[in-house]
Each structure stands twice: as structure tokens, then as C-alpha cells.
């Protein structure tokens, strides 16, 4: 099992490494000739300069903190709203159509609205990212609650559990796998929208550094930031999955028998 898994992880590296090598070779050999298209080597050099100057760390810290803050707000609000909507049939019937319309709106189209309300501020970033992250969390929490088995609710009835006990001991834990799916989607969206609102306005963070590098005609630096966003997204997702599995026995069971 273990060596097999290690091998499949190694196989996963083949494609990206090959791509980087082809990228480097095609520029060095003059196969593609764009003036502002840097080689991977010069991107790596730019990355190193940015790391040693501290700019990369500062910008990354800003973006990650904002994305996480927005995600936490969206998580708390989204789970609470999702539970309420999921538990009450009248609220669910009354509100779900609006939820579906609102979450279908491309969030990027709402950024100008946010700019008018909040200006180019930190608040803008947080509101936009929270707004983006909250929908998958709400929708998945609602489905989680709706998928609670009637047997389980019967058990709660039979044991004469209070509403609160039912929620805490039966409904919430049985919805947790889907809530985690919502949180994971929300985390990705939160990071993306944080970067987007930095590109559009807020003068801080990876997004702003990226667009500044582009405008200052420093393509290597710009690519260095793009690579950084990719790595940050990958790491956040991995950390999330790892902690979910460490904390929840049900997630571990899913891991061991993927049925």
C-alpha cells in the first residue's frame, strides 16, 4: 500500500516537471519568441529575489490572512444559515429560489458594486471573498441536513432528545461530510476572490503585487506571484483535507474504503 502510494505520487510529478522543461527549452531554443515571456529559470530567480526582499512573504501573508478571515466568517454564517434553512421547511421553500438566483450571479460582476459601496479597502476584499465562499457552504449544509436519515431522527425521538440535543448529536454530525465539502469549495473560492479584488482594487496582497509587476513590465516577477498563488491554493486545500481527516473518523473511513 505505502510504496504503491509513493510511486503514484511520483507519477504525479512527471507532467508538471515535463511541462516546465518544455517551457524552458522552447524559449532557450527560440521556438517561441515573445518579448515578455520569461523562462522558468528567470521566474525562479525572481521568486528568490522576492523571497529575500521580504515582499513575497508580506504580500502572501496579507492575501492568506484575508482569505482565511473571509472563509471563517463565511463558514460560521453559512453553516448557521444552512442549518436553519435545512431544518425549517417553510424557510427552505421561501428562500431557496432566492439563494439559487444569488449564487448563480457571477461574483466578479458584483465587484464594481462592492467598489462603489466600500471603495478600495480591506473591507471590500473581505466582503467579496465572504460572499463568494458562503454559497457552497449554505447549499451543502442544507443538503447535509436534508440527507439525515429518518432512522436517525426516529432514534432521537425515541430517546426523547431535546431539539438542541438532536441538532448537536444527530443532525450536525450526520451532515458533517457534506458541510466539509462546502467548506472546502468555499476555501478555494475565498482565495480566488481575494486575489481578484486585489487585482481590481485593494492596493495590497498577491493580486496587487501581480498586477503591479505586470504594469511595471516585470514578467518574471508576475509569474513568480502566479506560481505563489498556485502553491498557496494547493497548500490551503491540502491542510484542510488533512485536518478534516485527522479530526473526523467518518472522513477517515471514507479514505480507507472509497465506495
Amino acid at each position: 500500500m505505502a510504496p504503491h502510494r509513493r510511486r503514484s505520487k511520483l507519477i504525479g510529478w512527471i507532467a508538471p516537471v515535463t511541462m516546465v522543461v518544455i517551457w524552458q527549452l522552447s524559449i532557450v531554443t527560440g521556438l517561441i519568441r515573445f518579448r515578455y515571456f520569461p523562462t522558468p529559470v528567470s521566474v525562479a530567480e525572481a521568486l528568490q529575489t522576492l523571497i529575500s526582499s521580504g515582499a513575497l512573504l508580506e504580500n502572501t501573508a496579507h492575501t492568506v490572512l484575508v482569505a482565511l478571515l473571509a472563509w471563517v466568517i463565511a463558514g460560521v454564517l453559512g453553516i448557521c444559515l444552512g442549518l436553519v434553512i435545512g431544518l425549517s421547511v417553510p424557510i427552505w421553500k421561501g428562500i431557496m429560489a432566492s439563494v439559487d438566483v444569488l449564487r448563480s450571479l457571477p461574483i466578479i460582476a458584483l465587484i464594481p458594486v462592492g467598489v462603489i459601496i466600500f471603495g478600495f479597502t480591506l473591507k471590500l476584499e473581505i466582503v467579496i471573498a465572504t460572499y463568494a465562499a458562503i454559497w457552497p457552504i449554505i447549499v451543502n449544509t442544507v443538503s447535509g441536513v436534508h440527507q439525515t436519515r429518518t432512522e436517525l431522527l426516529d432514534v432521537g425521538n425515541m430517546l426523547r432528545m431535546s431539539r438542541w440535543e438532536r441538532m448537536r448529536k444527530l443532525i450536525f454530525p450526520s451532515s458533517l461530510p457534506l458541510i466539509l465539502v462546502g467548506l472546502r469549495l468555499g476555501l478555494g473560492l475565498s482565495l480566488v476572490l481575494t486575489v481578484v479584488s486585489e487585482i481590481v482594487g485593494t492596493p495590497q496582497g498577491i493580486g496587487y503585487a501581480l498586477i503591479s509587476a505586470e504594469q511595471a513590465l516585470h514578467p518574471s516577477e508576475m509569474f513568480a506571484y502566479i506560481v505563489t498563488v498556485g502553491i498557496v491554493g494547493y497548500l490551503l486545500n491540502s491542510i484542510f483535507l488533512y485536518s478534516a481527516q485527522a479530526l473526523s473518523p467518518v472522513e477517515r473511513s471514507r479514505e480507507s474504503n472509497p465506495s
Binding site: R149, L152, D154, V155, K169, P173, S174
Partner: protein
Amino acid sequence: MTTQANTDGIVYQLRDLSVNLRRRGQDRQILQSLNFEVRKRECLSIVGPSGTGKTTLLRALAGLIPVEGEITFQGQKLEGPAGDAVLVFQDYGNALLRWRTVKKNVALGIEGRIPREESRLRVDEALEIVGLQKYQDSYPWELSGGMQQRVQIARALAMKPQVLLFDEPFGSLDAMTREGLQDELLRVRSLHEATCVFITHDIDEAVYLGDRLMLLSGSPASLTYELDIPLTGTRSQISTKESAEFLRLRHQVYEQMRKAHGAAPTTE
């Protein structure tokens, strides 16, 4: 109304009980004017073909569904789950909490209601009765079906209920496991002296486990037959099931079932 005196020795008293359930927007009558009682410490088997409403009857006894007519439980009108009657569901996979260990599943009905130390003792005791102490820290999905059903039985036992209601508890288990659990149930009953209502579509099982048997059939379903099962002594899978008495009783039930249905009953 009945006085306290003549409800002694009677756990459940059903008077003209009917149940209507709403399915796909239509009311359908499932049970029609049932009148019977459940006596203290007996094991009452209720048999009937699949889909007759046996589970509905048991859910009514557990106080989980609204009924017409009257159910009296321990001398009082039943309005909602009584707390002293515990239902063991057929679908153990969904009745157990996947995210809790065996030990914590068994504690579900008593945690926070009795002192922690006592709760721990009762959980240990219940796990010992069903022979699962070694698995107390496993999760239900790590166990076999038969073991999961034992966890559910232990959860019921930990509550020390007056009445255990079994809804085809061994219906989805293989024959070997099922026979093992039947004997385990007899043993548990001899230790706990609880009243049992046991629902099954398996006539052998109903006769083997019951002190009394009732046949539920028709649509809407009603009680069409009642039989005392005077099997004496300790019951055993081999000798009891080969005894002339067992075969005679089994024969009688089959005949009644056939009569009620006008066709050979299937054992499914």
C-alpha cells in the same frame, strides 16, 4: 376507565387502534381496529408477510407516529415516545451513529441523564452482555452486520427499559449470524426480564423466540390469529427446532398464514 388494579401485569393495552399514513399525498389506512394486550415479561412475536404494516404497528407502540384509537402503556395513555420502551431498528447501519465509537453509541440513550460513573458501568455491562467489550473503541463501520446489530441491542439494554421492541432485527443478516443472535436474545431476556415485542416475517423465528404469537395480515392489516407457544425449558436451535411441539406450532402458523392469504406463503 380501567383502574390501576386490572392493569397489573399488562404493559400495553390497545383499544381499537387504527393507523393512517400519508403517502404521496394520499392517506392510506395501514392498520385497522387492533385490540390486544402485551403482558409483562412475555415475548410477543408478531408475524405477517412483508408490507403488512408490522413496522407501523411497532412504531405506534414506540409512540413515534400518531394513531387513532388508544394505546395504554403501563396504565397511561401513550402520547409520544415513552422512554421506557426502546425500539431496535432493522436498519442498524442507519440507526447507529457512524461517527461514534461502539462505546459512545451504547451510551447515547443515557449520557447526560444519569451520573457519568453509572453511565460508564451500564455501558460496560451492556457490552458484556452482547460480548462486544473488545470492540468498544471500534467504529460501527468496522464491524460486521451481526456485531452492529448487537451494538444496537446493547444501546437499548443500557437504558434498562421495561419493554424492548424489535423490528425484524435479524432480517438482513445471514442464517448463521441470525441463529446466534436469536439465542443471544433469549439469554438477554433471561437476564433482564424485560417485556419483548418481536416482529418478523420468519415463522420459525417467531415460534422459536415467542411466548405468544400473533398473525397480522390483510390490507388494511388486522390481527387474524393468536397462538400461545408453550415450549418449556431452555430453547435450543437443535433440539427445540426438532421437537414435535415446535413443529406442530410452526405447522399451525403456516396453515393460518396460508388461510389468510389464499396462497402458499413465501419465506422470503
